[in-house]
Symmetry: C2
DNA sequence: GTTAGCACTCAACACCATCGAGTGCTAACG
DNA sequence: CGTTAGCACTCGATGGTGTTGAGTGCTAAC
């Protein structure tokens, strides 16, 4: 059996309705809809076919039909008619972004809020991978005996800092000149490639071997331990408004998942492309989120590094709108964050 | 009518029980408890008295009694016998703190997690007020045409940074020397007192007036806009496990409150003392949290500045344990964060 | 091929009886 | 006189029952 025009039409109507109401959809409801000129009986026959084909399911015998994950997949791939955001909605969203006092983290935080406000789902933004950013400046600042703060400024204007221990015969001026040297040597190197640069420096440097070794370690640690703080979540309470989370236990599980940045990172894991990716239900790799859908997009910072922004919601998500919003915000974020270059 | 010995005893037993079970407590339950040698009938009489005095309430005629806020107040003020944490519990908590790779924000984040894990409530930590910290170092870093990043390192090792615009005739070396000058002039000044220092500098400085003016503005803005990022919340999903939040709407409201850092800041607002403060129910100033209790303590960073750590939970909170944990963590945090000095 | 009609199913809802935890009161007890 | 046993009473919780109505599948007529 194949899907003909009419089956498409009916399936679409069912999905649209279910996305709105979260209630099983009956044949009468569809029949009454404008654009569908068939009686409930005809609809019922078609629905029966669609169920057999795996696009619909019945919670129980005398209930309406509910779209399956397969149906959502078909929907986002073929049925969905994309809607544009209205100009003043775009305007409003953009405003909130540039509003925030310009700092990278602030911008990202604001973006997360805008996303969750605009979609009423939970939003997640992952900051760009450090490794791909270029170093702009390195600065050592004394903070105590034998202790200094090492500050690394990247091309995206993102600042990372770590405490390191230093030999005790160094004073502020020494640190100053070391910083200067480090900056000269490392400027415009990607963080990833820093190891070689250091190797060279260690060979040349008569002095301060110990310090440089320390610094290298720090940078590397920073690179591999993808920092917790770099996952930002907005509107975590939004999902509680939906009937699929009326059960407190489900809600708690969901929130617990959100608290593990590690899991979030995994679930937003993307191949390199800039395309919007849609994972419906079990398509994502995290069992706890198997009844959620996750839509994600990329944003660019500087030349080659990018971050991820996404929306987590029930499988009966308003894909249409979410995609529009993510698409727009991805571009907006890229714009705003690239002004630093 | 006054509270005699026996009324105290009974009230305490009721509160203890209710804290454990969240169920209205009946006379039989109390009578069976070890340490109480009276029959249910006697207990009932006493309970009746306690109700008249406003310490107990009955949800409905044939239910047991529930402690009132007044009762909790009495409990924390007089009835509670303080328990110590076991040494290895202390050990474990402390471990998690120093574990984290030494950064201030990382430590605070870890502390929030430890707090919520140890208490099973929601924890909140507010970073120390910037204004009270001393400046250690100021650094301007060029990031683009006419744009620089201004980084301020405080005595606590906390780094703050903001983007500022600069005159376009300045190159990296100029910024370097300006940074040096700024650091020299401002080092060891509290952030609050920076205004005068700047005034002087503006008078003297032949050049760079525009830049200095910009920088001053930035610092001041930073001071007054108590930064969002400085409120950190742990275990927000913990409260959903308690029967008082079985209703999804209540849960949602609660979570929505947590998302507003502004409100959190207000609710944790403390007078200067280092004492542990307990706000029961409506004693806190935020109507949305009127059925919560909030216990908070201070931790010290450096010489004179301190931050706040707190626990938010239902009024029938395990005050005893929460107080012990907060007390310990306050000290531990102070210790860890003062190592930077 | 489409649709009206009809019997059938089943969750949701309201209603009701029962149960039991807990109370207040009274009278008896040491 | 304080304490306690006994008892009638209250009322939420629980579980069973009947009704309702949305929705289906099937059949027969258009």
């Amino acid at each position: 059996m194949q899907l003909d025009e009419r089956k498409f039409l009916i399936l679409q109507a069912i999905i649209d309705d279910y996305i709105m109401t979260a209630m099983p959809v009956g044949s009468r409801t569809i029949s009454r809809k404008s654009g569908v000129g068939y009686s409930p009986a005809t609809i019922r026959n078609e629905m029966s076919d669609l169920e057999e084909l795996g696009y619909l399911a019945q919670p129980h015998t005398s209930a309406g039909r509910v779209p399956s994950n397969k149906a959502y997949r078909l929907y986002v791939d073929h049925l969905m008619k994309s809607v544009k955001l209205s100009p003043d909605e775009r305007e409003r969203m953009h405003e909130h972004l540039v509003d925030k006092s310009k700092r990278v983290e602030g911008v990202i935080r604001a973006a997360a809020n805008v996303l969750s406000d605009a979609t009423k789902y939970t939003s997640v933004i992952v900051a760009p991978k450090l490794g791909t950013l270029k170093i702009k400046h390195v600065q050592l600042v004394p903070v105590a005996e034998r202790t200094a703060l090492m500050i690394i400024v990247t091309s995206a204007g993102i600042v990372k800092d770590t405490v390191i221990t230093i030999p005790d015969n160094l004073d502020a001026d020494d640190l100053y000149s070391i910083s200067r040297m480090l900056t000269q040597k490392l400027a415009d190197q990607p963080l990833e490639g820093v190891r070689q640069a250091f190797a060279e420096m260690l060979r040349d440097a008569s002095d301060n071997r110990r310090l440089l070794g320390d610094a290298l370690q720090v940078i590397e640690k920073r690179l591999e331990s993808e920092d917790q703080a770099d996952v930002i979540i907005g509107g975590s309470s939004n999902l509680l408004g939906y009937p699929e989370y009326a059960d407190v236990n489900k809600a708690r599980n969901f929130l617990a998942v959100l608290e593990s940045k590690e899991t979030i990172r995994r679930v937003l894991n993307r191949d390199g492309s800039m395309e919007i990716s849609i994972r419906i239900g079990p398509e994502n790799q995290v069992p706890e989120l198997n009844d959620c859908s996750i839509v994600s997009a990329s944003y660019r910072v500087g030349d080659h590094s990018n971050g991820t922004l996404g929306i987590i919601g029930p499988t009966r998500m308003n894909y249409n709108r979410v995609i529009s919003v993510l698409d727009f915000m991805g571009r907006a974020l890229s714009d705003v964050l690239s002004e630093y270059r």
